[in-house]
């Protein structure tokens, strides 16, 4: 019987070929970043030589030191962490509440409300850039954490709601029925029964929200002015302005800025895949 047509291939030439192809693709995906790190360790002038990848004559750790100290790297990193974590928490709370209402509760408008909640996905963020500036200015919240928090939450909410709802629909109703017999109210059901079961969905929504907002900078540039609340992308933008002739330092800043997200991603890689599976496919 020819079993090689089945899923697993082990230890045969087909596998070697596949791995080779995969490595090439991986190379294409990773190469610009390898190039980035390579030149971030060089002296700026070495960029103008003829090599594709250059082994630095002297590893310029100073580039990274400059990137760390001269910019407001830690301050911006802190702000990014704060704003993004808050955004994630808010998105989670609001999504779960709304998802429960729309998938479990019984009321006439629940379908319409669901559509409203999801509509945000179809609205491009930048279309609201200008009017939101006017609104936030009138409310006096430009250059505050709210100027970023509100749009970040608002535009991650549709996706969060969508994922949460589809996950919630797959939770069997029997558990709630049992709880009701025991005399639980809605809020207790939410907190004690539904919430613990939503772990996978929570991870997914958290990750998606983070990915959406961590690298966002268009809104940040427009709404923020003073150093106080600036986020990580500013580090890159400010450095490219300040060190315009020293490319290697700019590269170092970019590498540093990419590092946090990269590290977290590599650690949480499995969860992200699982999350995408549950979310995107079940939809």
């Amino acid at each position: 019987m020819d079993k090689s047509a089945i899923a697993t291939i082990r230890n045969n030439p087909g596998r070697v070929l596949t791995i080779t192809v995969m490595t090439i693709i991986a190379g294409i995906q990773m190469f610009p970043l390898i190039w980035l790190i390579d030149f971030s360790l060089c002296n700026s002038n070495e960029l103008f030589t003829n090599g594709i990848l250059v082994w630095p004559k002297k590893i310029q750790w100073v580039n990274y030191v400059l990137a760390f100290t001269n910019g407001n790297f830690f301050h911006y990193l802190k702000n990014s962490l704060l704003i993004n974590t808050l955004a994630v928490v808010l998105v989670l709370i609001i999504s779960i509440m709304a998802a429960f209402a729309c998938s479990r509760m019984e009321w006439k408008l629940k379908h319409a409300a669901s559509i409203l909640m999801v509509m945000g996905m179809m609205i491009p963020v930048h279309a609201t850039l200008l009017p939101n500036y006017v609104i936030y200015d009138k409310l006096g919240i430009t250059d505050t954490i709210w100027a970023l928090l509100i749009p970040y939450v608002a535009f991650s909410l549709p996706q969060g709601f969508f994922l949460t709802t589809s996950f919630m629909s797959s939770i069997p109703k029997e558990l709630e029925e049992a709880a009701l017999i025991d005399g639980c109210g809605i809020y207790r059901i939410l907190a004690i029964i539904i919430f613990p079961l939503m772990k996978s969905s929570i991870v997914t929504v958290s990750i998606m929200t983070y990915l959406n907002n961590w690298n966002e900078f268009m809104l940040a540039i427009t709404y923020l002015s003073s150093k106080k609340w600036k986020t990580l992308p500013f580090a890159i933008l400010e450095f490219t302005g300040q060190y315009s002739s020293n490319y290697a330092v700019q590269f170092a800043v970019m590498a540093l800025s990419a590092a946090p997200a990269l590290i977290i991603y590599i650690i949480l890689n499995k969860h992200i895949t699982k999350g995408v599976a549950l979310g995107a496919v079940k939809g």
């Binding site: 995969m22 909640m117 609205i123 930048h126 933008l237 990269l262």
Partner: protein, 290 residues
Amino acid sequence: MHKLYSNKKVIFTLMAPGLFVFAAAILAPILLSVYYGFTDYSGIGKSSFIGLDNYKTLFQDSVFWTALRNSLFLAIGFICIQHPLAMLTAIKLDKLQGKAEGLFRCIFFIPNVISVAVIAYLWKFIYNPNFGLVTKVLKNLGFTGQLNLLGSGNAIWSVLIVLIWHGFGWGMLIYYTGVKNIDPVMYEAASIDGANGRDIFFHITLPLMKPVIQVNVTMAVIAALKQMETVYLLTAGGPGNETQFMASYLYKQAFQSYKYGYGNSISVMFIVICLISTVALNRIFAERGE
């Protein structure tokens, strides 16, 4: 139980935050945008109501149509280039098993995690005709000329390459999860019936991936329409206005010229087009669906 689940107060409390956020942060700015789109507000000073003039100008504005065309190219690029590659990669990856599979899956997604600012800046470097990566590679291969990859005529394709490269990981991941969902029993059954690799792909894998394909295609079209940051950083819509997308164009009009009112009318048109596309796509897939 029914009474508990129809408790109006509870429903209200649960829904209020979500709906409030929607109204305040999405609906309100859109309404404001619609209002400004009917004026000639320049961003400062007085404004006056000019009715549909902005929209009339918009329809005659060649840049607007260029932007739409660019989105179309991008969507086609996603669907015809990125997705097939992503799907094939996903399928091959699925068969790989073992540590290699996890490793590659992790690596492929990495560009997605990196900030667009870094990606755009990096690629600008790569494309630089004087000392960029592309030029160096070509030089090493013996080609001595200098390709002006971000110049007139070439720019849009160069931008497309960056966007396709950047989104590859995401598309691949979604197809991967779709492939993983296919029960291996299907493959076994098919091979017992004597099907070869190609048959399996076209008659089993592809049909079972349909929901995933739909999701991916919809997301691709929306992403193509919404494109802004990468192109803004890479070419700022240039040279001339060749690589403008709607979002970057509206930004330019509102913030760089003093044409706030016009920028908002572009904004409104943009939203309308996004909505129509989403609804149309849903219809198409619903009809074709089970």
